[in-house]
């Protein structure tokens, strides 16, 4: 399948303080993201995962190396708006990414910036709000909504721009468990509709839904592969102070007790199915 994002030897340097000290947040990352895939990027704070995300749509530009989105170099200023329309982004804080004091106006913000016809904007806004189950809150002010609802509005705002790829930068970090569940369900739904999903998170349980898991550590890609293969490397993952998903831990413990749990069981449903059919 075609690649939507190609990253070649990406190095990114931050200017830390007024003394001119620099910090390398990314130290040479090579990645290819396939169209229609669901990739989870996991890492601790400071592992460079958010910096990587912001490099994917030209919000940050590489110090070294190149990032291609749909064939366009992110450094190419003529195409920066094509890039950002192709790769939409949902941020962590639901409060700080809503622009307008009315939900539907906020969802319309992106399409308005693209210069789309008013009737088409109206259609897209209604559709996007319906997709995230926020249709009945159209005329509400964001500050009356819960965190999860605000985050759903933010997702609708990106969906209305019809992106091919959506980058979620820790979208559930500031939400309660209920809001987290809602957002994950919407992300699954969007992926099933053919949108390429890149989910940045530090929740292992969210990563098991992806069809590819990338673990970042100190600006490098530590592990990259299908979730079941990545989570086999339990020791390596633990050595960088990350946890493996609960079901992988349970699987390992059961195996130690002599129950032959297959290694590819990483989600709750799979585990439940396995246990129910176990003889």
């Amino acid at each position: 399948m075609e690649n939507i994002i190609t990253i070649e030897n990406l190095v990114f340097q931050y200017l830390r303080d007024e003394d001119g000290d620099t910090v390398q947040a990314l130290k040479g990352v090579n990645l290819e993201i396939k169209k229609g895939s669901f990739t989870a990027i996991i890492g601790k704070n400071g592992s460079g995962k958010s910096t990587l995300a912001k490099n994917l749509n030209g919000l940050l530009l590489p110090t070294e190396g190149v990032v291609y989105v749909n064939g366009y170099d992110t450094k190419d200023y003529d195409h920066v708006w094509d890039i950002r329309q192709t790769a939409g982004m949902v941020f962590q804080n639901p409060d700080n990414q809503l622009v307008s004091a009315i939900v539907e106006d906020d969802v319309a913000f992106g399409p308005e910036n693209l210069g789309i016809e008013p009737e088409e904007i109206r259609r897209r806004v209604n559709k996007a709000l319906k997709d995230v189950n926020m249709g009945q809150f159209k005329k509400k002010a964001p500050h009356f909504l819960s965190g999860g609802q605000k985050q759903r509005v933010a997702i609708a705002g990106v969906v209305a721009m019809k992106p091919e790829c959506i980058i979620f930068d820790e979208p559930t970090a500031m939400l309660d468990p209920k809001g987290r569940k809602e957002i994950m369900a919407i992300i699954d739904e969007l992926h099933s509709e053919g949108i390429t999903v890149i989910l940045i998170t530090h929740f292992m349980e969210e990563a098991v839904r992806a069809d590819r898991v990338i673990i970042m550590h100190e600006g490098h890609v530590l592990l990259d592969g299908e979730p079941e293969n990545v989570f086999e490397e339990e020791e390596l993952i633990r050595s960088v102070n990350l946890d493996v998903p609960l079901m992988v831990q349970i699987g390992a413990k059961l195996r130690a007790k002599g129950i032959n749990v297959p290694l590819n069981i990483i989600t709750e449903e799979e585990m439940v199915d396995f246990i129910c059919q176990y003889k």
Partner: protein, 266 residues
């Protein structure tokens, strides 16, 4: 609670006045203010008051609601009234030590009080019947002809929109910071005025920092959503003058004529 505050003082409704194009309402309000300064006798005020009363009646905003909005400005009203009544020289009708009231004083004081009263009610009717967002849209459109001489009309409107959006967010933030400081033993209630003002510093400094952080986040989110200023931007809610807007405009012009005529004749 702090999040229930109403912004501006919009009174939601479906009346004809509410439905009018914001531009018509802004222009109408401006015309009304100008008219109040054209008027130079009490009969003129009577005409203006009747017109304003009619608009209020159509808008279906309860009178009590409008009067409540007057309260904060009552002080200014009394202050100007007192100044006028005591300061104007002329035929003295009452005197006590250095204070004196003149016939002209009473006249001017009442005149000015009515003018201020009508002015405040007239302009508050604009914010009562127009959603803050449509108001900023209207201002953007009205200022757009001045773009040619370098007035950033889109940017001004965008700033107002964002300010409206973030008032509740910043209020919540203030609430949070206040509680956090109170939990650390901060005292905002006791002491004299200066001490109390000083005790606000531990609230204001974190508030400013968090406002900058929010601004940074928001700027990034806006850029990610392809915001690049007003160029080539379309609007979901296009503003189009409808028949009722033209009618309102015609009535406003007619009324301006009446007021000028009245001021000339009497």
């Amino acid at each position: 609670m702090i999040r229930d505050i109403t912004l501006g003082q919009y009174f939601s409704g479906e009346s004809l006045i509410h439905k009018l194009d914001p531009r018509v309402k802004i222009i109408g309000t401006m015309l009304f203010i100008i008219e109040l300064f054209i008027v130079d006798n009490f009969l003129g005020f009577l005409v203006a008051a009747v017109a304003l009363g009619t608009v209020i009646a159509i808008s279906k905003v309860p009178l009590s609601y409008i009067v409540r909005g007057l309260k904060p400005i009552l002080f200014i009203l009394f202050f100007t009234f007192a100044l006028n009544i005591f300061m104007i020289q002329g035929e003295v009708i009452w005197q006590w030590k250095f204070l004196h009231i003149t016939k002209e004083g009473i006249n001017v004081a009442v005149f000015m009080a009515i003018r201020l009263f009508l002015l405040i009610i007239g302009s508050s009717l604009l914010t009562l019947c127009t959603r803050p967002i449509s108001l900023t849209d209207g201002i953007e459109r009205l200022l757009s002809p001045f773009k040619k001489i370098g007035l950033p009309s889109h940017e001004i409107a965008m700033m107002m929109t964002i300010a409206l959006r973030f008032i509740p967010t910043l209020l919540e933030e203030t609430d949070k910071i206040m509680k956090a400081q109170q939990a650390r033993g901060a005292d905002f209630e006791s002491g004299n005025l200066i001490q109390r003002a000083k005790s606000l510093i531990p609230i204001l400094v974190p508030l400013f920092i968090s406002a900058f952080r929010i601004a940074q986040d928001l700027a990034m989110a806006m850029e990610a959503r392809c915001y690049r200023g007003g160029e080539n931007r379309t609007r979901m809610n296009e503003m189009k003058f409808k028949r009722r807007d033209y009618m309102a405009f015609a009535l406003q012009t007619l009324f301006l004529g009446i007021i000028i005529l009245e001021a000339r004749l009497f």
